[in-house]
């Protein structure tokens, strides 16, 4: 294809011709997928005769060698990983693009394009895994699938149409980057927003199926729909899962982008490249961390709705055979908190002027470590009789005191506050505010931190002296105190540091290389955590396909123990990263030898050149 070039500001930008061959190849894939999806929709049993014929089908078929459950589990987890990535990344990609558009900084436009490129490469794999999952359900769990179809058939069409809309919008967004630039940039940003709206709509439709399996609604005792499908969609856990998954997708997308940047940083040949990917890694971590801070609150909401739907299910989840799962979750989240903060502290070393804030690191590390230890303390343990006698019961006399929700809620809120403090210090590391009201502003900020911590600790201690039903309500006050502090501190911080004096530019690319392994640790840990939470969500149904409605009478009706689940999660997560690596490598093949693609000059980041280092 012919290449045209033009000068844009002080950067030389190459514009490539429209890659017709690539587009055609992807369009063929899309048509194949859509054809398959429509064929499946067309043959779904909808009339009475077909339903009768379906009743003669076996309830289950056995997937060769691995068994049906393992096959569905592995493909579903992989599909969810990819889907979370392609739905999460565009959310912040469009925000970054809008920032670039409004500020005129080319590096944001480059980053946004880089992010969408990653999404784009994973798009067809997500669709193919989704189709594969559908085939597994239809083929190996026909009775279950027939039942779900009897409830949700109208939503299948909505899903297919949304998928069409999402695909074409994302294609236009990606390939129209140059075409819709300049005065037409607002249309391009609009396409990004639109693709996010379609993507979120796809998410909420699919969530209605999976949440119905957990907390069925809108059906009579025989399991048939009582009225419209909306009652089944709008079940107890639908909205909490929508919110939880949306936030988690952003975290996930951020960590994967961070890991991608880390990978490129470690393999970079030039200082300029290192600087670029150091900056990208920081942005990835910043996005992940920002969303991660509010994720526990969404988790509380989901947990509360599970209890509201069915106490037995809630208690089984937290205190039954799954109780140890939450200890593992606490460890993983502890790793995420410590890792994110450690990355920020390492990052401060490349910021001139940050020395002022190093004294805060040891106390923050102590709070995070102690918080981590308390959060991972089990309340009651499965012990032998001798061990129980030695401890004086199933609760350890000292550690058992920290294993209750009062202690755990308190420390997680303190960890969130500490992480936020890390971020605030990082943000102001090379700035000295010049406003006349700085002292007052700082005092109010510290007071906000102290007040929030005070409220959190007060309700944490008070929780030991009240009934559980009252104690549950305390977590709301703790969360509100933390959120209020975050909002207040930022509301002061932004104007206070506007026009601040700088102590020097951030030396991007000079961060310690081992910091990049922290980014990879975060991505791996969060992906593994997603697998674990998927197991929790599915496992609390126990021997039910649809809780209390459609029983699992297959050979796989037992819910496996955590060890088995962890092994499956590990293997699938490994497969996911192997596939991601392959897809990214494949996506990068077309760019070999070209420094810029689709008109996107790789920006020069501060610290990327010797002459730019202050």
């Amino acid at each position: 294809m012919p290449r045209r070039s033009c000068d844009c500001g002080n950067k030389r930008v190459f514009r490539e011709g429209f890659p017709i061959v690539t587009f055609a190849r992807r369009a063929v894939w899309l048509l194949v997928f859509c054809g398959v999806a429509l064929t499946v929709l067309a043959v779904l049993p909808v009339d009475a005769q077909t339903a009768q014929n379906a009743a003669k089908e076996p309830a289950y078929r056995a997937f060769p060698v691995f068994g049906s459950r393992l096959a569905v589990w592995a493909v579903a987890q992989l599909h969810l990983n990819f889907a979370a990535f392609i739905l999460g990344v565009p959310i912040f990609a469009v925000i970054i693009e809008a920032i670039g558009w409004r500020t005129g900084e080319a590096r944001y436009d480059w980053l946004s394009h880089e992010l969408v490129k990653l999404t784009f490469a994973a798009f067809s794999t997500t669709a193919l895994l989704g189709a594969f999952l559908l085939f597994l359900f239809v083929g190996y769990y026909p009775k279950f699938w027939t039942y779900m179809t009897s409830i949700f058939f109208p939503t299948y069409w909505v899903y297919a149409l949304l998928f069409f809309a999402e695909t074409f919008t994302v294609y236009l967004w990606y390939y129209g980057w140059n075409w819709l630039s300049g005065s037409r940039k607002w249309i391009h940003v609009g396409l990004g927003v639109l693709s996010n709206l379609f993507g979120t709509a796809i998410l909420v439709v699919a969530n209605s199926w999976v949440t119905f399996m957990m907390s069925p609604a809108g059906i009579d005792e025989s399991g048939a729909l009582k009225g419209g499908v909306w009652a089944a969609i709008n079940n107890y856990t639908w909205m909490p899962i929508n919110i939880h998954r949306l936030i988690a997708n952003i975290v996930f997308g951020g960590t994967i982008c961070g890991a991608y940047a880390a990978f490129r940083f470690l393999g970079a040949q030039t200082q300029e490249e290192r600087a670029r990917y150091d900056w990208m890694g920081y942005i990835g971590n910043f996005i992940a961390l920002s969303a991660f801070i509010v994720l526990p609150f969404a988790g509380y909401y989901l947990g509360r709705e599970i209890y509201a739907f069915n106490q037995t299910m809630g208690i089984t989840m937290m205190g039954g055979f799954m109780s140890w799962l939450w200890i593992i979750q606490a460890i993983l989240i502890g790793v995420l908190f410590l890792g994110s903060n450690y990355y920020l502290w390492l990052g401060m070393e490349r910021i001139p002027g940050s020395e002022r804030y190093r004294k805060y690191v040891p106390p923050m590390l102590i709070i995070l470590t102690v918080g981590f230890m308390i959060w991972a303390t089990p309340r009651s343990m499965v012990v032998t009789l001798d061990e129980a006698r030695a401890m004086g019961g199933t609760h350890h006399p000292l550690l058992g005191f920290f294993g209750v929700m009062s202690a755990k809620n308190t420390v997680v809120n303190l960890m969130i506050l500490t992480t936020f403090l890390s971020f605030v210090l990082y943000r102001r590391a090379n700035k000295i505010p010049t406003k006349s009201w700085v002292k007052t502003g700082m005092a109010i900020q510290w007071a906000a931190f102290a007040a929030a911590a005070g409220v959190v600790v007060f309700y944490g201690v008070y929780g030991y002296f009240v009934e559980s039903i009252i104690r549950i309500g305390f977590s709301v006050y703790q969360v509100l105190a933390v959120l209020a502090a975050i909002v207040l501190v930022m509301a002061i911080d932004i104007p206070m540091f506007k026009g601040a004096r700088t102590t020097g530019q951030i030396r991007w690319g000079t961060i310690a290389p081992h910091s990049q392994y922290v980014l990879i640790l975060l991505a791996v840990t969060f992906t593994w955590l997603m697998g674990l939470m998927g197991f929790a969500r599915s496992g609390i149904r126990q021997h039910w396909h649809v809780y209390g409605v459609l029983r699992d009478s297959s050979v796989d009706a037992a819910t496996p123990a955590l060890g088995y689940a962890a092994n499956v999660i590990t293997v699938v997560t490994l497969a996911f990263f192997a596939l991601v690596l392959f897809i990214f490598w494949l996506g990068g093949l077309g760019e070999r030898g070209a420094a810029e693609v689709h008109g996107h000059a790789a920006p020069v980041i501060a610290g990327g050149r010797d002459d730019m280092r202050a």
Partner: protein, 266 residues
């Protein structure tokens, strides 16, 4: 020698995930198994056996222990110590067994003061106890300080109907003899002429039944024997080959034995 980035990152990722998996394997491994069905109808069962069966249900399938304790105050639900004696005095004019049964089947009918109305009906999904199990559980609760006088007739006949949920198939315990059923399969039933069943038979006229209990529901197998045409023909096999007269050719015992044998083929 410089190790490529992809290898370094890959090894690091494997080590991280391996450590998580190793920890998950080091803690107590608890599998949640689907509950077994208990059937006492028509059998001779002593009160002691009934109480023992009820105690097991209390700790397992009934999931009562999630909220209730015996001899210990709970925050979610009342202490059940002495419930057998207390139940007779809770609602005037209502016997202990009637009160306990009402509490199990219609928990919202009477809420003990100071506790939230969170108890589910035990004969409905997801707990879904059947009639025999409700009988045994009632007997166990009566035994906690009271006299066991509940009979199967005290438990409404409708209890447990549809407890398996829509389209669900509760695990059946066919009272037949699988060994005798195997003999029917090979002998009077002449099934072996067309079907393979594990190590028995080799014919391929009809579908291989070696895993029939794994891939089919008991109600389908029952129907297929009595009404092969009505149950439909399995894909890729000729229709109308399976005899239609097993319902009259086999005795009840032979039919039940044959079923018991087929349900062992997993």
């Amino acid at each position: 020698m410089r190790v490529p980035v992809v290898v370094r990152v890959g090894v690091f990722a494997v080590l991280v995930m391996g450590s998580y998996a190793m920890f998950a394997n080091s803690i107590p491994q608890i599998e949640s198994k689907p509950p077994q069905e208990l059937s006492l109808e028509g059998g001779n069962v002593t009160p002691a056996q009934l109480v023992k069966a009820g105690e097991e249900i209390f700790h397992t399938k009934g999931t009562c222990e999630i909220c209730h304790r015996i001899g210990q105050k709970g925050t979610r639900a009342p202490d059940l110590a002495g419930i057998g004696a207390r139940a007779a005095k809770t609602k005037p004019g209502m016997s202990a067994k009637a009160y306990i049964l009402e509490s199990l089947l219609q928990p919202a009918a009477y809420i003990v003061e100071g506790y939230p109305p969170i108890m589910p009906a035990v004969d409905k999904p997801p707990i879904a106890l059947n009639r025999s199990e409700v009988w045994a559980l009632t007997a166990f609760l009566e035994s906690l300080g009271g006299n066991v006088d509940v009979t199967l007739n005290d438990v409404p006949a409708t209890v447990g109907a549809g407890s398996g949920g829509a389209g669900a198939v509760a695990e059946l315990k066919i009272p037949g003899d699988p060994k005798a059923g195997e003999a029917v399969f090979q002998g009077k039933g002449t099934c072996i002429a067309c079907h393979k069943a594990g190590k028995i038979g080799a014919a391929q006229v009809g579908p291989d039944l070696s895993q029939i209990a794994k891939i089919q529901t008991p109600d389908y197998i029952m129907k297929k024997i009595l009404d092969p045409k009505g149950a439909g023909t399995v894909a890729n096999f000729p229709p109308g080959v399976m005899p239609q007269d097993f319902g009259t050719r086999l005795t009840s015992k032979e039919y039940v034995d044959l079923l018991a044998f087929l349900l062992t083929l997993k």
